[in-house]
Symmetry: C2
Subunit: 182 residues, 2 copies
């Protein structure tokens, strides 16, 4: 950020009055530009004993498998946003999404809100951001080709919870950062 | 938003390529300025049979009672942010916050992430954003002087759950908007 989005003048980093951390503040109109974490919403869609995953058609992690998920938009609830992403990426509809995992990723300023939901029918297809969409048995999960640590963690929780038949909502902070390939 | 925070030129509302909703887009560098919901984190602090509430020293709803809560900052987990707000507003420390309520407020583009936690000691004081901080028995809750609908809903859930001794994590969208006083 270099310019004030309200008046167009330059901004600089300083601690505003009554605050205790640096913000971008306009050098002309003094407007404070707060920056806050963003929310990613998604669903682990279930059909009988299988889970639905999408192969990413876009970076980051193009070609790797993930759950349908994306940024929460203004004006929608987390469950509605997760259902929208499931339609956009997997062309699938779900029934009554239940809050399942809230993951904090403070190192990238993101909060993941994942739901668990049955597909309303075994119907799905690759949306524009997916190369492929597929139902997987537990034994066929491509563990080495998962896109993000949160996907692995969610799948581990799901298969473990399924043995007990209880799916408690979980909250975890994940500090792992994938090493950058050199 | 009137100006691009990257290059300082004017922005206008249009639908970017491969998107389906209007965004602020720079008329010069084409940078897309996404706007997303913000996360508010808070705690319902418990001491024995009482709950800790803060009387707001700032607008909106100055003089009304609320739980310690505020905007999640970059670089912190939801539980850490909630604990920070509890210190800032109530000068109180809590033990092991447990995810309790995730409320969607799509009409104001906010997601509330509330935790339940015991105070580590019955020690608290008004921080700079509070006029007063007090422990309340269920029978003494100032129901008519609560600051926000999410506070009322959280307290209702808590006192109901306490009867059962189980505190499941809840997720609800709240569409109520307080009427503006005329």
């Amino acid at each position: 950020m270099k310019y004030c989005s309200y008046c167009g003048h330059s901004v600089s980093r300083r601690i505003p009055p009554d605050d205790d951390r640096e913000r971008y503040v306009c050098d002309s109109c003094d407007h404070i530009h707060y920056e806050n974490p963003r929310v990613i919403v998604g669903i682990l869609p279930i059909w009988e004993s299988q889970v639905l995953l999408c192969k990413r058609a876009i970076e980051p992690r193009k070609g790797y498998w993930t759950m349908p998920a994306g940024f929460l938009e203004n004006g929608e609830s987390t469950a509605d946003g997760a259902s929208r992403e499931t339609w956009e990426e997997a062309r699938a509809r779900v029934v009554d999404p239940k809050l399942y995992c809230v993951f904090d990723l403070p190192y990238i300023n993101q909060v993941y809100v994942f739901f668990l939901a049955d597909l309303s029918a075994p119907e799905f297809a690759a949306g524009p951001e997916s190369l492929d969409v597929k139902l997987f048995d537990e034994t066929d999960i491509p563990w080495e080709e998962l896109a993000f640590p949160v996907v692995r963690t969610t799948l581990n929780h799901y298969f473990s919870d399924r043995k007990e038949g209880v799916y408690p909502t979980r909250n975890e902070a994940i500090y792992f950062k994938r090493p950058v390939a050199t």
